[in-house]
Amino acid sequence: MPAFVIRRLLQSVLVLGVMSLLVFAGVYAIGNPVDILIDPQAGQADIARAISALGLDRPLVEQYLIFLRQALAGDLGNSFVYNVPAIQLILERMPATLELALAATTLAVLLGIPLGLWAGLAPDSWQGKLIMSGSILGFSLPTFWVGLLLIMLFAVELGWLPASGRGPTTEFLGVQVSFLSWDGMRHLILPAINLALFKLSLIIRLTRAGTREALLQDYVKFARAKGLSNARVVGVHVLKNIMIPVVTVIGLEFGSVIAFAIVTESIFGWPGMGKLIIDSINVLDRPVIVAYLLVIVFLVILINLAVDIVYSLLDPRVRIGEAQA
């Protein structure tokens, strides 16, 4: 088990190293780093000073090492727009994105698993077919367009929910969150539904396929032969088996939820990292772009690592296999 974790950890560090190299190559080698890292409005003398301060007159390899050292120290340059460290800007916006992503994932799981079970247990009933058609639609509809429809219907036409912003936040465990106040919750509902939709469809499909697969297995028949109630067979024997792939996918997809939050945040004016990156791209605030890319790559790697470890805890076969290896 520890050997497995260490191996995965090393792998992650390696991937992070490769990604840093790619981002570095993108910023320093393809583009002109002077344009990217120094405010274009600065004067000649300032630019010259900045070039030597940033080490842009040195060889590429040396520049990469400097970039790496500064990145490790958390220094990814100052935002042109806000004139504060880019990394600080990202970290300030992160809780909003995480809250949105968690709300969406929770919604997708709470609705997706029961609906998927239902569709899997009664695939030929009209409810089962309706659930499946809905999930196919959820896959086909582009997230941003659904977001627009939600705003059009619930904010503009019906006026039930706000169209934009995060609303008031409350402090919870040292972080500002929306979901604790009624008004904050009202702001959270539409973006969370919007972001959840695609994952909901995914979880429904996965749960349904897993359920149908499990129902054909001998262990389910054996469980019935033991005289277990239907609730116990489905709730324990089937559910516990399909939870392994479902939890893995939910975990792996969490990175994608954070990435797709870019779209939802832009539509609903949700002040998270995603809206920040789009705004930064539009005004060419490059240090923020670089910082965002590194932070999100780091997050995705971290999530993948965590999922692998949780997976090994969930599935006794993997756990034992690793312990013996």
Binding site: V15, V18, V23, G26, V27, I30, G31, I136, L137, F139, S140, L141, P142, T143, F144, W145, L148, L149, I151, M152, A155, V156, A163, L252, G255, S256, A259, F260, I262, V263, S266, I267, I277, I278, I281, N282, I289, L293, I296, V297, V300, I301, N304
Partner: protein, 293 residues
């Protein structure tokens, strides 16, 4: 027993058994035709500024313009006919989706075949890159590239190629490895047939069915992703608006109740994606060798 049929005839016959798939195909054909003949069927050339009149802007569906033209789906902020905008937008959306998928298929196919045929270090290097890339969300990869490269139709296509190729590489390698292990390939190798012949005559044809299915689904995914990127303002430029950009242009007006500027291009986008997915779903069933008996 069926009478003798070419594989293509059989596939066509099987495909036709699903009415849903056929209607998807018909819808898709209509959409493609509308895109191809956009200049002929559009009531207006939306990019000829001489034809536009600011006085006609933001008219609801069914209104008539000052020049006597009927805006069946309304007009946008610059007095442009939405219907014409959609026809022209479809061209860009479909072109980006199809071109990026076609290129990505070629790249992925070559990489996958290389990995499977050469094996060893080449294989592990290519597959490691594929693994790493697939562990990142597609939108993130496109975003990274476009953030570094800037806007543009060509750049968007490039970003979508980079997003997609890894899927094909993995699929092709998987199928090719299974085929490579079979006896007829060993026989061909023993006969000292040139590697190119083995790869193209034996490995390639077996990799095609799964590739076609994935590529069809991916065209829809690429169109959706392009629309999303353009909606975010980092995809195609304003001079060549795709459906995603049309939707973005209408967003601000939507809050004041002028829904049609965003709504109708969105419908066109959804119909395109759904029709492709219907066709892809049926293709998957028809081309799946496990279901053919």
């Amino acid at each position: 027993m069926r009478r003798e049929q070419t594989p293509l005839q059989r596939i066509a016959a099987d495909f036709g058994e699903s009415r849903l798939a056929l209607s998807g195909l018909a819808l898709l054909a209509l959409i493609v035709l509308a895109a191809l003949f956009a200049p002929l069927i559009s009531p207006q050339n939306p990019y000829d500024l001489a034809q536009l009149d600011v006085l006609d802007s933001r008219l609801p569906p069914g209104s008539r313009s000052g020049a006597g033209l009927t805006f069946w789906l309304g007009s946008d902020g610059q007095g442009r006919d939405i219907l014409s905008g959609i026809f022209y937008g479809l061209r860009i959306s479909l072109m980006v989706g199809v071109a990026s998928t076609a290129c990505a298929v070629i790249v992925g196919l070559s990489m996958g075949l290389c990995a499977a045929y050469f094996g060893g270090r080449t294989d592990s290097l290519i597959m490691r890159i594929v693994d790493i890339q697939l562990s990142f969300p597609s939108i993130l990869i496109a975003l990274i590239l476009l953030a570094l490269l800037g806007q543009g139709v060509g750049k968007t296509i490039f970003a979508l190629i980079m997003v997609q190729w890894a899927y094909y590489a993995r699929t092709v390698r998987g199928t090719a490895l299974i085929e490579r292990g079979k006896e007829y390939i060993e026989a061909a190798t023993c006969l000292a047939l040139p590697p190119a012949r083995i790869v193209f005559r034996h490995l390639l044809p077996n990799c095609l069915p799964p590739l076609i299915v994935i590529a069809t689904v991916q065209v829809a995914a690429a169109i959706a992703l392009e629309a999303t990127l353009s909606y975010l303002g980092i995809g195609v430029p304003i001079t060549e608006p795709s459906l995603g950009l049309l939707i973005k242009n209408g967003f601000d007006y939507m809050l004041s109740g002028k829904y049609w500027i965003s709504f109708f291009p969105g419908i066109a986008l959804v119909l395109t994606i759904v029709s492709i997915n219907l066709v892809a779903d049926r293709l998957r069933d028809v081309l799946n060798p496990r279901l053919q008996q």
